[in-house]
Subunit: 142 residues, 2 copies
């Protein structure tokens, strides 16, 4: 190939975000392959690790997901018995979600694999630069 990717593309933020995100997804999948878990399922388990009880509407707000997406997400986690859901006695419209013991075990398996994936992505950066990147990205979110 006689040409080179022009800077007009290589420095486009949309391109950089799309490609790094794509690469992160592939690495996460490669490292967690035998666990067959999605990044979103992992994030849900982390949220429930930090908070013993959450309503589905809380998860939707936190993870910035549609409530229908949360329903499917929770369905998939309940099928694997990693979480359980029950009616909120205080508001019988709502469902309360909790991590099960099996979910805690699963999380212990997933976490090191997920961290290894992130470390592989971040290999070109030293520790300071990794922290800078996280801090800069975090400031772009509401």
């Amino acid at each position: 190939m006689a040409h080179v990717l022009p800077d007009s593309i290589r420095c486009r933020l949309g391109y950089l975000l799309a490609k790094t995100h794509q690469r992160q997804l592939k690495l996460f999948e490669a490292h967690t392959h035998d666990l067959s878990v999605s990044g979103r399922q992992y994030a849900t388990l982390l949220a429930l690790e930090a908070n013993a009880e959450l309503r589905q509407s809380d998860l939707a707000e936190w993870l910035d997901l549609d409530r229908t997406t949360v329903t499917y997400l929770i369905d998939s986690l309940e099928e694997r018995a990693w979480i359980e859901r029950q009616r909120d006695p205080a508001d019988r419209r709502a469902h309360i979600v909790r991590l099960t013991d099996a979910g805690t075990v699963a999380l212990a398996d997933i976490r090191p694999a997920a961290q290894a994936a992130t470390q592989e992505l971040l290999t070109p950066l030293d520790d300071d630069e990794q922290a800078q990147l996280r801090a800069l990205l975090a400031r772009l979110l509401p």
Copy 2:
């Protein structure tokens, strides 16, 4: 809501990339709404602006896309007469893609809208920080 998004999620690189990318897509779409163009279509036009002629296989390699995806992408641009494709006389298996005059005009419309979207995303960062972010992300790509 009584809870707060835990740092275990907020600082997860996969979460940060997914959310900033999602936000970038929404802002791009909002700013280019009346032009109805995708970021990938925009990147293709930029590639052709920098190189008068490209084969579809070049585009696939540059943009890290499957060749089937490139076929659909080029189809959509040809329908709008922004690009034209013809057989490569030197290798009649290949298609050579070129920007048309209409494509050049379209690019002139799209570019400021795309840049405005990026600037809105990057509002929380000053100029130095924006450059740092681009540089750090670029180093994560092969």
